[in-house]
Amino acid sequence: MPLPMRTLDSGEWVVLQVAGEIDMASAPQLRQRVVALVTGGVSALVLDLSNIGFCDSTGLGVIVAAVKRLRTNGGDLRVVTNDERLLALFEITRLDQVFEVFPDIDAASATAPSAHSDESDH
């Protein structure tokens, strides 16, 4: 099952919007898309998960890998979601301390990537 994804620009950030369910079956598609974006020169990525209906630990693993890939390249990744379920999942896994989570794209892309890329802030 294809994972619906599309990209758009928001200020200095590239936004990757993902819909559907992220699990062991679909996560490789997200991973490949992030790799392609970073390989193509993207260093400031907003991952918009507003339309995700389900995300399991495989999906969380892909997000962690994406954060690592972007920071290794001097960039950063921010996550967008307003979904209580997903926010709770980030909280119980404490991943909300690994990457920043914003309620919408405007908030996520309001400041430059360098302003929040220092991990010592967390």
Binding site: M24, F54, V64
Partner: protein, 146 residues
């Protein structure tokens, strides 16, 4: 509520995960006492257990099926995920470093069992060289809690 059960046997392929989630959440939703948030807890926990089962079969190259049985009992929903994979030893699981440690980014995996422990009211994992069985329980009535 009358005891009621549904059992699935699926090929060990990730494409079947969404079907397992749909069946288990629909079955659990038959008990009106179970809140949506608890059905979501169960949905994720079952998905994690089934993912591990599928992965175990894939690692072994096994073509055997994974079984998911969902029982609606008087005061709880119980789901058992059984595989015929290689099994695992809890002692071999490496804990993640703290989130403040930059090395946390080296750990993309291993959250599944943690989530199962957090989301289910009860869980039991029995694993040996013949395979693994994960039993998950979510209480439907507050009085069921010990």
């Amino acid at each position: 509520m009358t005891d009621w059960a549904v059992e699935l046997e699926i090929p060990a392929e990730p494409e079947y995960l969404s079907m397992v989630r749909a069946v288990v959440s629909t079955a659990a939703g038959l008990d009106p006492r179970l809140k949506d948030s608890r059905i979501e807890d169960l949905r994720l926990a079952v998905s994690e257990a089934t993912t591990n089962a599928i992965e175990s079969h894939v690692n072994m190259g096994s073509s055997e099926r994974v079984t998911i049985r969902c029982d609606l009992r008087d005061d709880q929903v119980e789901v058992e995920v059984t595989d015929h994979g290689e099994g695992f030893d809890h002692g071999d699981l490496v804990p993640h470093p703290p989130v403040t440690d930059p090395n946390r980014l080296e750990y993309e995996r291993g959250l599944g069992l943690s989530l199962i422990r957090i989301l289910a009211d009860e869980h039991e994992i029995v694993s040996d060289s013949e395979g693994t069985s994960v039993r998950l329980v979510v209480y439907t009535a507050p009085t069921a809690r010990p």
